[in-house]
Amino acid sequence: MATTVAPVEVTLGRRQLYMLPTRYGLLFALVATVLLLASINYGNGLGYALTFLLVAIAVVSMLHTHRNLHRLRVAPGACVPVFAGETAQFELVLTNNADTPRFGVVIEQNGAEVARADIAARATAAVMLGQRVTRRGWQTLPAFRLATHFPLGLLYSWSRPVHIDHRCLVYPAPAAPLPFRTTPTETLRPEQGQRLGGDDFIGVREYQPGDSPRHIDWKAFARTGMLTTKQFGGGYQALVWLDWDALPEFDTEARLSVLARWVLEGEAAGAHYGLRLPGIVIAPDHGEAHEHVCLKALALFELRP
């Protein structure tokens, strides 16, 4: 499920771009100086011509290097939520509104290249910035720079640090598996040790979005073309409340981790599960959307929005 954030995009203007020669550029300048001195000494017309041609090419390449970044539009793309400890993939959409393609556009973080893109004329390209995230909640993409050496490698142009409002939802890291617990106040309780959802086939019903693909009656689909979902029960209503209060010996983060693990297990088992957190109650349900709602509640628990 893609989570997106406010589209704050950046277009690189003249004032945001800098340029300096690379060490290869300095070497080139040295060779040009030698050529010039030799041309002067020998009064060699072609030597002068070659010298000035090379210098002029370096100057023109400056314009091309600048052009490679100037007016490039950077916008946030999608970012799939991840669990803490994983690598979040921030998508960046680079839009080239110019009539010339842009080559070798490099995205740098802390001076190191993290992504590279070529963007055709009047087109967009998407790049992924992998970012290790350790804490739950909304994590923003750290500032990055755009840079390029194109076309000749004699010059290096880079942008000021670009901050765009690009956030990724980070779920709490799931804890190690732990048996379900329920609180004494629970009224509707499933049997302990009973596998939720049961093994017994109890019939089919019409497919609803969110049903696990493993329960779709594919044979019936092949016959009739209608999507139906097989239902399993075993006589019990597979319903569970995942409760904050059931875990008194853990601290907040650990509780959230355990609850996250239970959400995953409940979803995997095809159960109906609800979530109770201090001040938040999410009614029992199942399916990917429900799983996301629960994990998001855990991710953002007690964090300011």
Partner: protein, 658 residues
Amino acid sequence: MNPAPDREAFYWLYLTAVCAVLPAVAQLPLWLVAAFSLSLGWRFASDHRGWRRPGRALRTLLLIAIVIAVYRQYGSVLGREPGVALLVGLLGLKFLEIRTLRDYLLSVFLFYLVLLGAYLQEQALWLGAWTLLTVSISLVAMIHVVQPRGLATRAKLKHAALLVAKALPLMLVAYLLFPRIQGTLWGLPADAHAGLTGLSEIMRPGSINSLSESTAPAFRVTFEGAMPPLRDLYWRSLVLTKTDGHSWSRPRAFAAADESFEGLGEPVRYTVTLESSNKPWMPVLDLPAEIPPEGRARNGYTLEFRMAMHERQTYTLNSYPRYRTPPLEPEERAANLQLPEETSPRVRALAERWRHESTEPLAVARAALAHFRQENFVYTLKPPLLGADPVDEFLFDTRRGFCEHYTAAFVTLMRAAGVPARIVNGYQGGEVNAAGNYLIVRQSDAHAWAEIWVPGDGWVRVDPTNAVAPERIEIGSDALRRLAERGVVPGSLAPAAVLKAIELSGLDRVFLHTRLYWDLANLSWYRWVVGYSKQRQERFLTGLGFGEISWEKLLTALGVGGLAILLAYLVWQWRPRPERDPVQAQYLRFCRKLARTGLVRAAHEGPLDFARRASGTRADLAPTIGDITRLYLKLRYGPGELSGERQVLKRAVAAFRV
């Protein structure tokens, strides 16, 4: 940047290397060219066949071997030729160790120095074009290592060509305005000039003739006024007075810087661009009224440079086609009557006879010319060789020869008849290049003629060859060669028939025109590249209205000119362009398609309202209209987008049919 050059990068480097070394190959020893090629081959084999590359020890050994070999070849490792040789050798070795981007780019840059090495030898027009090619290829090599993927070869070539094309105006400004200096920064090595041929100081009629066959340009002339007719264009280089019967030479004494004459009529002003000749002689039109600053006077109104000229030179001066020279000093008179004791009696007798008929010098000369015309004398470029007494043999036996034979015989006869006479060596005529409005004088236009001293008039030019082959003077040596090729004996045809005989066929005419334009291109190249010196720069810029030239002024102009071009590029690059959002462009295309059916979106109408109205009118299109509008709204106003969604919109609009 890409840390290490890949295989394709090496292909471009090989190409750069070959292009850069090729113009210098002629001046490099064969073993060095072989070593360079072997190094490239070794690198190729190691990349493609897995051959072992030499280790550091072997590379050091090879390096020492190359330095020693260059030293043995040239006796030095400094100076121009050993320098270029060493550079090529070391660049070859470098191929064996290139691993990093730094090594790679350094090699590319150093090949520019190899190009310069070739220029020091020769600065021909084709080298200019070759330079553009080589530099473009080196740019492709650089583009490739910076951006190894994503660009097709064509795109790389195009980008390199674009860089060069945009650089040319900047280069031109810098080239024309960069202050040129007189002289050198450090001493030129002794081998800075190579040897060439020209006229000879000593004339030996009947020995050999090497000049007449060479069509290489000797010099080119532009006239400030109208060009005098070809037959009046006598370019004097040397005046020969001393003879031993076989050869003619200049007097040893450094004579007569105070020779003067009285110019008659209007002077002709012209500029000569002289090819390098390794000789100091300055061909000038009869008779030079001034001495250009770089020259000095020699005997007989000839001029020469202060030293032998190894490079092309340009000088401007006035000449008077009509003149009167002052009376002869006694010793000068004696020098111009000098004949060897052993001059044959037959020759003396012939001269004696004419002197008896008239003591008037001009009459004696006319008698001699009549003799050439009436007797069976033939003009030919391939005369028989002459023996012990060339003048006698020519006059009485062979009677076949070209200008040198006729002039030597004529001057001998004149002196024998008591008329002071001398030989003038130089060039006659030339070829008019209408394309560039100038005259090309070739080595084959080399000519010898006589001057006799007439009381009252002074030195008077007499061209004895004229008596035999008037075409030689009227139509020039080139046409004469054509006559010879067609088997026509000069002097044997009526003038009209001669003209017909020398007329060019269609193909020849095209060839001639091409040649003339090519010559013009070369002359322009010379003027603006090889000969663009401090003086030439001053003349050019003063002509543009720069006024007094100083290097501060030039550098300021260079800065202003360069910045102006740069600014023009920037204005073009930064020009406001309509912000055409690709998504919106697709939606507008969709609206245009609907407009064709009469469904025009009103200015106030939002996309949703328009979609509703359009779907109402065209129920058949309603689902597609809805899909496109939804996708458009999501992409344009919605939060974020998935990569590929734009392609979906584009395809949907393209597939939309009304």
